[in-house]
Symmetry: C2
């Protein structure tokens, strides 16, 4: 009944079959085999083949399919493939893409190749749109939008509108909304296809369109667009310039990718990995993404070593304090990461409200409770391993203080960064753990010295 | 030109105005003020008001608006509001919602209230749909789908189809696709609205529909649906049962929420927070989410204390080793978190391929390079603070070994969990840091003892 089984699987058998056909240059066989395969699956196949085989496939198959497949590939795989294509071949791939994808695609090429490819594009309007869009910041509404959309004049009738739309709709992959513009191409409203379908053919657009239309400015930030589209459950949003002229539209599928990328980046930052590394990347690339954060952690720990050296005198009087330093560092780190994660998510979802003073009181309360609970267990453990009661108590009190300070650092560093327009996510993970390591050990020994008097 | 400004802001002035109107019971004024406000903004307003004021607003405003606003609220806020409503009032909110939202809504009530509310729903078909859907697992395709959709018979003509669709479309918020079914209500294809708009009125549906339709089974997991819809850029996907009968459809906006929730949960797990806590939750709720992970970390660190006590003899011969324990614990933790984060993301995005042996070789290579780089700096630092060369070298070598072991634990624990059907994200953050703390300190002192011979 259904011709494409779901889930479609790119199996080793299929790959072997493709490799065999490529080796024997059996083009007809390849085309037939891959005829009904979705471009997302073609991308998986290209990813699994070696560069030479993948290039062969890209040149052989219809650009309509390969262009979309190329878009789905990882940047580094795509780059390797494009290196083997001529400007003409790249241009014919771009002809098949919506402007937003075409721009993402072309912006990865070097300047000279960009010029060559653009001049090789046959559709002049498409080329002009691409050149225009290359000027927008990648993470702005302008960088996310596509120029392809269906727009109608308020003065048209429904019947005339449907007629003219047929022509426009052929360039648009999916029609979400029909935008209504005035004589100066300024956005004045929208029509849903549903409305158009259920309206009388003779009515004028001016009588049936909805004037209440959400839109974003071409210079708005991507995050802001994502927040709006999520909040208002929009599937597409028109983009205008300062004069109100309709420039393009952003669709929800691009926003899904944007949200995914943002979430991945925050996650990786929290884990101490520079953005955009995948399990399948090369050893050197992963080393480059991980080493800087380890060096940062190293600096923190070496500072801690230095601080402890200063308290070397306590080695004879209270050696047991040195057994507890990993505990102090771990608690400072864990509490700091917890606090920063909650704040960073709150800042992303825009629900950090109320005064900073109240937030401070709240963090202190939370960590007084948690610190007391953990502290009691530490005192019990200290008694169990036969430490003096006073030493156990000192460690517990110092730990409680360290936890409170760590939570305040974890809470307020992201807030301050956010206020200064810096992504607060960089303050989670390694940065917070490192500074809390140093500060925790410092505070711990000073408090211990003060209470135990060594 | 535009009647609703974007971004609309729920300001303190607006809230004060609303509070004033509620206090003075000026219903007409309230209704007028909130007439053009989007339900997502109404939700923000309800969230900011106290329970009594919010209840007043919910009872006053049209269910069409408040039902959607209630859906946007946090579970705990919604619960407090629903406690103040009668079964009849809740039922009238549910009447306005799509079945998927209505089910999410009603499943939060206790069993008795559920029965009362369902029997108070006037639309019998809606009530029957809700009862049917309550049986599906919340995270399955059945739990995510809505019953509202537009379906047509293959035997109809385009003109007849448009006529019949008008009636159906009124219950459907947004029409994505028109589904084509056979006489037994089995899904056999789809039509886009675009196709319908551009087709000849006299053609038969059988001649123009697309047989190639992606669909999921009602029992499929939510993650699988999210993966498919992202991979194939789908905006809606029909849901069928084993017999192929069309049961409902899942739209991309529900999947966006699902993706967001999943990403948030992974992020929070990595940070050591039990799921679903927000910056604005109560102190006790946040304590409950954070304390268990701190206790887990405590256990790890106390084991480390115990291990170090066993090496107490080294305090006189090599006290400096004890200055470096936070460094060892930090490196073990950082490396473990990095490795696990990469693997967890890889498992989510389904790109962890190849043999486990090759992955092991890769992890070891990465950490040999990183460990050597960090190790050289440790040796230099040790020389700087006048430690014996042999001690510096020992620390560096032990650290390198600890890093390699930590990375293997970080890589393979998630893979093993994933193979057993457990969410690998629980292995990031506290679990990995804790086990690597214990293991790191243990390995460090054993290697040091072996090399330095104390």
């Amino acid at each position: 009944m259904m011709t494409r089984p779901i889930p479609f699987e790119v199996t080793d058998t299929l790959l072997d079959q493709i490799r065999q056909l490529i080796e024997e240059r059996r083009n007809a066989g390849l085309e037939e085999l891959l005829q009904d395969v979705h471009h997302a699956d073609i991308a998986e196949i290209l990813d699994a083949l070696n560069t030479e085989e993948a290039t062969y496939l890209v040149k052989l198959l219809d650009s309509e399919k390969t262009s979309e497949a190329l878009m789905e590939l990882d940047e580094d795989v795509r780059e390797r493939l494009l290196d083997n294509l001529t400007a003409k071949e790249i241009a014919s791939e771009l002809e098949e893409l919506d402007t937003d994808d075409a721009v993402d695609f072309i912006s990865e090429l070097d300047d000279e190749m960009q010029r060559k490819v653009i001049s090789a594009i046959e559709d002049e309007e498409h080329a002009r749109d691409i050149v225009e869009m290359l000027m927008y910041d990648e993470d702005s509404a302008g960088g996310l939008m596509a120029k392809e959309l269906v727009k109608v004049r308020e003065t048209w009738t429904v019947a005339g509108c449907v007629r003219k739309m047929r022509a426009q709709a052929q360039n648009v992959t999916r029609v979400h909304s029909v935008y209504v513009v005035d004589a100066q191409d300024r956005l004045i409203g929208r029509l849903s296809l549903k409305d158009l379908l259920t309206a009388d053919a003779k009515s004028r657009i001016a009588d049936i369109y909805i004037a209440n239309v959400d839109h974003v400015n071409v210079k708005d930030k991507g995050e802001e667009v994502a927040r709006l589209m999520q909040k208002y459950d929009l599937e597409a949003i028109p983009v205008t310039n300062d004069a109100g002229t309709l420039l393009g539209r952003i669709t929800i599928d691009d926003i899904v990718d944007f949200i995914r990328d943002e979430a991945d980046r925050d996650y990786q930052m929290a884990a101490g990995i520079s953005e955009d590394v995948e399990a399948d990347d090369s050893v050197l690339r992963i080393v480059r993404a991980r080493l800087p954060w380890l060096l940062l952690g190293l600096v923190g720990s070496l500072c801690a070593v230095y601080i402890m050296q200063g308290f070397g005198g306590a080695l004879t009087s209270h050696p047991e304090l040195f057994f507890f330093t990993p505990l102090i560092a771990a608690m400072a780190g864990n509490v700091g990461v917890q606090s920063s994660a909650i704040i960073v998510q709150g800042l992303v979802n825009d629900n950090v409200k109320g005064s900073l003073f109240l937030r401070m009181v709240k963090e202190i309360s939370i960590n007084l409770i948690n610190g007391a609970a953990v502290g009691i267990l530490v005192i019990a453990f200290a008694a169990m391993i036969s430490l003096e009661t006073m030493v156990g108590l000192t460690i517990a009190i110092a730990m409680l203080c360290v936890m409170i300070v760590a939570s305040l650092i974890g809470t307020f560093v992201p807030i301050i960064l956010h206020k200064r327009g810096i992504d607060p996510a960089i303050a989670t993970g390694p940065f917070i753990t490192t500074s809390n390591d140093i500060f925790g050990i410092f505070l711990f020994f000073h408090l211990a010295k003060w209470i135990l008097g060594f």
